[in-house]
């Protein structure tokens, strides 16, 4: 049995025929072909599958597709505006925030979400804001640097 799920993904109206308990992660990766969203653990611990759903970050591996019906979703593919990188993405490159890149999509989304909520986060707010996303490469230091830099970039652009 399949159900229809209609949602907006990165600004485009989408419709998927999927089993009702299919994971949003699989729908995005396999139906929408948006493979930037990664699976790291499949149990909501690592945050590699983080996407923005109706303005809040979620672990897409824990969201049943049906729950996404009628929602607005932004994945990593929707963070840059065309060829112009988001300040968080640019700062991740310049400050070494991405190493193997597997946690990066989720980490970038979590950082974008944090900077949407907190304009100029202090160290603890950055740490807390990224606590749901595990990185095994960087020791987080360069990611903190990147988020601080992104906050500066965002503050200096009108």
């Amino acid at each position: 049995m399949k159900s229809q799920v209609r949602c907006s993904v990165n600004g485009a109206a989408c419709s998927f025929e999927v089993p009702p308990m299919a994971r949003l992660l699989d729908v995005l990766r396999e139906e929408a072909n948006l493979t930037g969203t990664k699976e790291g653990c499949g149990e909501g611990e690592c945050g590699a599958c983080t996407v923005i759903m109706d303005g809040r970050i979620v672990n897409s591996c824990l969201v049943p597709a049906l729950q996404a019906d009628g929602s607005t979703i932004t994945t990593i593919e929707g963070i840059a505006k065309g060829n112009v990188l988001h300040a968080v993405q640019a700062a991740f490159i310049s400050h070494g925030g991405a190493q193997c890149g597997m946690c990066t999509p989720g980490m970038v989304i979590a950082a974008v979400d944090l900077l949407t909520r907190v304009v100029n986060p202090d160290e603890n707010q950055i740490r807390e804001g990224l606590a749901g996303n595990i990185c095994r490469c960087t020791g987080y230091t360069k990611i903190f640097d990147a988020v601080r830099e992104a906050a500066r970039l965002l503050a200096s652009t009108p």
Partner: protein
């Protein structure tokens, strides 16, 4: 002439793809008609397989099934150091989760049902999970004595020193647990295979290891086997040897199915079935004079290799050579053994045996200091190795090394003296007690002993139609920055811009064998070959009369294009040959164990809550001499990441074994440091260019794994103000800290 690229933090090559989600990892690749593949594994740690049956309710006629019977017996082994590990177990089951059957089908969900419907009839046999039982041959499970490998390294006359009357003898025993690499991308491959050829794409560190294993499995000509590394989401050693097994599995299924097979492990399977860091035990017996001069070290180092030999002998070797540390000791004896157990084979993990033996040594050094009434730093200063001294393997240190200055600077950066004094004053009245501790250590760059000579790595460079230079190497980008470093080295050598150089995707049908991406060798050893191959391109252009120095990047590009248009393919190759004066004897285990070493002192400040028994690293200083730093941001990123893994090794990452199987194979209950757990990690470099490295660089990747665990536990000992047996093991979990805290506090209450 463009600005020098070496020493500059240029943007990483694949950075934009990684931050936008465009980077394609193995699970992001799709192939029409592909099947999924899964592995059915042994439920027992040791046994004899008597039969297999397939339960009803699954359309078995639709499912491709591969067993050991599908592989000629003489080919059913993963080619590595010895050929003891089968691709699929036939009758002897030697560890839990050992692969027995492979299944493939287009429907993943059906496949999962099928996996659960396979029934094994097994006669259970006594299993072995303990180093001491393995040494006691209780029972014998491998060879005649359970010993995969033994090294006996001697320098001077240890027994004569211990017979002296004027020495103090300090003994200690230390151990380390297994550790999971926990790269965020699980293992995975896609295979296409028929009777004549095999192609595998995958997440892996060493394309030519996989190539060799497939060669052994299928017996095809070398050019009929192709291995391509896709973007790889972390390795840390965990994708050094294990991908050979998965590649073989997927290829076996693909060949039988006549369709591509995609085999991607989920997290639980990756954690319970694939390799981990070798658990270890080190016994130290040290002879020291009253003034703190260490005159003899007698070390017994044992690692748990698991059920098959795999890479244990070389892990043991690195652990052995690092066991006596950066000290000049006249009399050293190291007995080192890798033993068999019924655990899944332990394997490569950043540091490769060295973090294990260095934990023992650097904990023991503090015990020795205490025994002679010196501070930990005073003892080290008395015994550090220097230029002109010899290591435990009789290696003469030819390059300048200044451990005293590294130590002093690291301690100063950490505010060591002031903190030590302050913590001693403040701790007695507080429930949160603080301590500061450090470890001094070194890490050899590149393969051990004659390894690089035997490898004889090759790197190529070609000119492209666009006038660029393309680096051809099998060395993989796994997050550490290979693409970027190779670009910097080649562009710097040729005086080109950063975007004039490309790095080819590692594909055995395109790139030569530059050796595995392991052993802190990629920048130093392979990077030097990249430099030579790049210079070869220039030489060809100059000899052809198309280029003369000085030239601009535009002139170089024009010359490349013209050469290709008029002469044809432009290609230069470079092969490794050892620098002069490097000698190693495998028989006596003596000589130049490594071309060079990176040297370091790491300092940890730890807060220990004596109510909750939590230990928290509050500050971390990592100071190292790694030759010339090619890319400051990438280099610091390597150190910070390694330190975080080292903090996990010390305090969080506890593999819980139940009947030889990892019982906590989930992110939920195997805990790695998160963004709120890591301290400020402050990284400092001393730069002493190494003459044989590209632009003076040495290896760096593994070094940061060595120091954190002993530094942190030394700090905890300082916080507690006294030694305790619980502090001789990592991971040091709250349960063990509770023992230490309660014992020491109640002892103090009694004495008060």
């Amino acid at each position: 002439m463009p600005d020098a690229l070496v020493g500059k933090s240029v943007p990483r090559k694949e950075g934009p793809d990684k931050v936008t989600g465009r980077a394609r990892y193995i699970d992001d690749m799709r192939m029409p008609d592909a099947l999924y593949g899964v592995t059915v594994r042994s439920p027992v740690a040791r046994g004899r397989l008597r039969g297999v049956s397939f339960a009803d309710g699954v359309p078995w006629n639709e499912i491709i099934v591969v067993s050991a019977a599908d592989i000629p017996a003489e080919r059913n082994h993963v080619a590595l150091l010895t050929n003891d590990q089968p691709f699929l177990a036939a009758t002897e089951l030697r560890h839990a989760e050992e692969p027995v059957l492979l299944l493939a089908h287009a429907d993943r969900h059906l496949l999962e049902r099928a996996r659960n419907a396979v029934r094994f009839d097994i006669e259970k046999l006594p299993a072995l999970f303990d180093i001491d039982k393995s040494l006691a041959k209780d029972p014998v499970i491998w060879g005649e004595d359970n010993i995969f490998k033994e090294y006996n390294l001697t320098k001077g006359d240890v027994d004569a020193v211990f017979a002296r009357a004027d020495i103090i003898v300090v003994e200690g025993e230390y151990s380390t647990g297994a550790q999971e690499q926990l790269y965020i991308e699980n293992n995975g491959v896609i295979a296409v295979a028929d009777e004549n050829s095999v192609t595998v794409w995958g997440s892996l560190q060493c394309p030519y290891y996989v190539h060799k294993a497939l060669l052994g499995l299928f017996g095809l000509p070398a050019d009929k086997i192709r291995v391509v590394q896709t973007e790889t989401g972390g390795g840390f050693g965990g994708k050094e040897e294990y991908p050979s097994l998965i590649a073989g599995h997927a290829a076996l299924l693909a060949r039988k199915a006549g369709k591509p097979v995609k085999m991607i492990y989920d997290r639980a399977e990756d954690m319970v079935a694939t390799t981990k860091r070798h658990p270890s035990r080190t016994k130290h017996r040290t002879a020291v004079t009253k003034d703190g001069t260490i005159v003899a070290m007698d070390i017994d180092f044992v690692i748990d290799g698991g059920a098959y030999n795999t890479l244990s002998p070389v892990v043991l070797s690195r652990g052995t050579i690092h066991a006596a540390g950066p000290y000049s000791i006249d009399n050293v004896r190291i007995r080192a053994r890798a033993v068999a157990t019924s655990h899944p084979p332990h394997g490569a993990f950043r540091g490769f045996g060295a973090p294990q033996s260095i934990f023992g040594l650097e904990r023991h050094m503090n015990k020795v200091a205490r025994a002679v009434g010196l501070t930990p730093e005073a003892l080290r200063l008395k015994n550090f190795i220097k230029q002109g001294d010899t290591t435990a393997t009789h290696q003469l240190i030819k390059e300048p090394v200044d451990m005293p200055s590294i130590l002093r600077r690291a301690l100063a950066e950490a505010d060591y003296d002031a903190k030590r004094e302050r913590f001693a004053r403040e701790n007695p009245g507080r429930s949160v007690k603080r301590g500061i501790g450090f470890a001094s250590f070194m890490h050899g760059s590149g393969f051990t002993g004659s390894g690089e000579k035997y490898l004889a790595s090759v790197v190529g460079a070609t000119g492209t139609a666009e006038g660029k230079v393309r680096v051809l190497a099998a060395s993989t980008e796994i997050g550490q920055g290979t693409n970027t470093i190779f670009t910097q080295i080649a562009a710097q050598a040729l005086g080109l811009d950063w975007d004039d150089v490309e790095v080819a995707q590692p594909d055995t049908s395109v790139v030569p064998n530059s050796g595995p991406t392991v052993a802190s060798r990629t920048t130093m050893v392979v990077g030097k070959l990249v430099e030579q191959a790049a210079l070869g391109i220039k030489q060809i252009l100059v000899q052809a009369g198309l280029l003369s120095e000085p030239y601009t990047p535009q002139q170089f590009r024009a010359a490349v294009k013209k050469y290709i248009a008029t002469v044809g393919s432009l290609r230069s190759m470079a092969q490794y040959s050892p620098p002069d004066g490097i000698a190693w004897d495998d028989q006596s285990y003596r000589g130049d164990a490594y071309g060079t070493y990176a040297w370091a002192v790491y300092v940890a400040t730890v807060a220990l809550d004596t109510v909750t028994y939590e230990a928290r690293v509050e500050d971390f200083v990592a100071l190292q001499e790694v030759g010339r730093v090619i890319h400051p941001v990438l280099a610091a990123g390597q150190i910070e990441g390694g330190v975080a893994q080292g903090i996990g090794f010390a305090l969080y990452e506890n593999v819980v074994w139940r009947e030889g199987r990892m019982a906590n194979g989930q992110f939920t209950n195997y805990i790695v440091p998160t963004s709120v757990d890591v301290p400020a990690i402050r990284v400092f470099f001393d730069e002493v260019p190494y003459p044989h490295g590209p632009s003076g660089a040495k290896g760096i990747g593994e070094l940061p794994m060595d120091g954190p665990a002993p530094a942190i536990v030394n700090a905890i000992e300082e916080a507690l103000g006294a030694p305790h047996p619980a502090l001789h093991h990592v991971p040091l979990m709250p349960e063990q800290l509770m023992d230490a805290v309660d014992d020491l506090l109640s002892a103090r209450r009694k004495s008060a």
